[in-house]
Amino acid sequence: MSSEPILDIHDVTVAYHRRPVLWDIDLTLTEPSLVGIVGPNGAGKSTLIKAILGLVPLASGHIRILGSPLERQRQRIGYVPQRESVDWDFPVNVLDVVLMGTYGRLGWFRRPKAKDRAWARECLDRIGLAGLEKHQIGQLSGGQQQRTFLARALAQQADIYFMDEPFAGVDAATEQAIIFLLQELQRQGKTVVVVHHDLRTVPLYFQQVLLLNIRKVAFGPTEAVFTEDNLRKTYGGRLTILETAGQAVRTREPTP
């Protein structure tokens, strides 16, 4: 492994209309792993990802990816936005969307070739959407749309992925397919940073977890950080879900 940290976030503050949504976030990620970002609504999870990708301006601080500023590393970064962020009535088919993943590598003006098309098909295949490539994206189910986005991320051939709630509103089979893919990416030495909602599955899916509530509450290996105490510091004490989650931590099994 190179000595450069994969992701280095230094004292980052992001504010909308002078109201901080992220405040003094400071963390360094050195080992390739699956990283979950969890926190209550409005904790700034999506904003953190957008800040890393340069989609929102920083009020202060700086971010380095694989040792350099974002601009020089764009091709090594993959992004899966929230599913609702795009218009699913847009007249493109599944293969078109997946091909968009190769655009970053192609650069200005060059068109995807047969080779890229074959690669996009392979990505579709790996996420279990083979045979749907000619479908218009609006005809897909929610889970299939999410898988299409994942296939697109896969087609980006990035080293570090950022995914904004890839498990939101998907069926169990899709969730399985996605997590399987994430684990495969991780085995290839890639890093995947995922905004995640379901506390029960956090210990199962992620090796490292960032607990976020405007500030960083805790970041580190899941077994050390994903504790009832930290969850209470993140969510407050009122949520009963914390207990199930806490139980999940202890038993390392998903609750039904």
């Binding site: 990708l53 989609l55 970064i77 992004y79 007249p91 968009m100 970053g104 218009q136």
Partner: protein, 418 residues
């Protein structure tokens, strides 16, 4: 009707050629406006470029040529920029911001035009267009036609060169931004071209009809297809077709550009009604078909249940809504049910097999709901009534496997074997 009245090729086809070329250019750009929800910004641009035209005329002294082109593109950028600035920096809602910017720039343009009394453009001309004027002399026709063709070529070149960039920026601008493509740059280039095309169309079709030519063919194509490339071709076709129809169907001495807009609107109406997947008729047919299938299946299931409880079917199911009567007729014709006497319907073997699958789906679903959702028994039937029509054999087997092939449903009735 103009069809035979004015068939002087020099004017007729010349005029039509200008209109077709202009409409195609508009339609192509319009696709991106419609997809990016920028239709009203397109409208704003066609008004906002007026000061640019006036200044262009003021400085070059000519109604055609590079002066008004440059002016229009500059003011097109300005319109787009001001709209964005007013909404982002001053916190004004986007549609209000569009409304303020284009009316203001248009007013500036009108006032500038009053400074040019000897030039033959006035607000009326800008609004209504005057396609007929184009043919007054061959020289001016050639000029207009060349400009038109150049802006069409510029549009086509833009779309071909930036095909991939435009696509990703329109579909998912966050991804485009993250990949280092500049969606903002694409936006301004697009706006520049819209200004260019609308100024070339100004003298011929007028500023409002340009809006129709930008948006209506694109909207029409959007209803007809799910592929971007096809949409562009279709939009171009609709644009050209409205030019042709408008030209030939216009009442004598009627306003040709206006008729083109009306024809585009008529084509859109056809698309709204008859588009294969998104059209109103297609939707109605789909709904009726589904309702019919559900009605047929409900009759089958009902007869099966009566057989099970050894009740004879006394009441005629066809007394209900028309759809039930239709369903009954179709079931009889397909040999799923027969009647020994009037109103006493029975299942045939074929019908019984169909009904069995339905009842199996219904009862499996009840069992599944009871197991997983903890619903009281009297809340199981209604959801199952809805779901039974959508649970095919594959899903039935999955359910059965998960429930370990239960013999009975929560009400204790037997679940038929698959």
């Amino acid at each position: 009707m103009k069809l035979f009245a004015a068939f002087d090729p020099a004017s007729a086809f010349g005029l039509l050629a200008v209109a077709i070329v202009g409409n195609v250019a508009c339609a192509l750009l319009g696709c991106y406006l419609v997809l990016r929800r920028l239709s009203m910004l397109g409208d704003a641009l066609t008004h906002g470029v007026l000061p640019g035209i006036a200044l262009g005329v003021l400085f070059t002294g000519s109604l055609s040529g590079w002066g008004i082109m440059l002016g229009a593109v500059v003011f097109g950028f300005l319109t787009a920029f001001l709209t964005q600035t007013v909404s982002a920096q001053a916190g004004v809602a986007e549609d209000s911001s569009i409304g303020i910017v284009f009316t203001t720039l248009f007013s500036v343009g009108v006032i500038l035009l009053t400074l040019l009394p000897d030039m033959h453009i006035d607000t009326g001309c800008v609004f209504f267009g005057s396609l007929e004027l184009v043919t007054l002399s061959t020289e001016s026709w050639l000029g207009v036609f060349t400009t038109m063709v150049s802006s069409l070529l510029a549009t086509v070149a833009f779309i071909v060169v930036f095909w991939k960039e435009l696509k990703v920026a329109s579909f998912d601008s966050a991804l485009a931004e993250a990949m280092g493509y500049r969606p903002q740059l694409m936006h301004y280039l697009l706006m520049g071209l819209v200004s260019l095309v609308s100024v070339t169309s100004f003298a011929t079709v007028g500023s409002i009809v340009v809006v129709a030519m930008l948006i209506v063919p694109a909207a029409c194509a959007y209803l007809l297809t799910d592929r971007l490339a096809v949409m562009l071709w279709l939009a171009a076709g609709v644009g050209a077709l409205s030019a042709v129809l408008g030209y030939f169907l216009v009442p004598t001495h009627g306003n040709v550009p206006g008729m083109m807009a009306v024809m585009a609107g008529a084509l859109l109406l056809l698309a709204v009604l008859f588009a294969p997947r998104h059209g109103v008729v297609a939707k109605v047919v789909r709904n009726v078909r589904l309702a019919l299938r559900i009605a047929m299946e409900d009759i089958l299931a009902d007869l099966y249940r009566r057989e099970e409880s050894r009740q004879d079917r006394k009441s005629d199911p066809a007394t209900g809504r028309w759809i039930n009567r239709l369903a009954l007729a179709r079931l009889r014709n397909s040999g799923s049910i027969t009647a020994a006497e009037v109103g006493a319907w029975r299942l045939t073997d074929r019908g019984r097999n169909q009904a069995r699958s339905l009842i199996r789906a219904h009862r499996l679903w009840e069992a599944y709901l009871e197991k997983n959702l903890d619903l009281p028994p009297d809340h199981l039937h209604d959801p199952a009534m809805r779901m039974e029509h959508f649970i095919g054999p594959a899903l039935q087997e999955e359910l059965a496997a998960e429930l370990h092939e239960p013999g009975t449903d929560p009400h204790g009735r037997q679940i038929p074997k698959g």
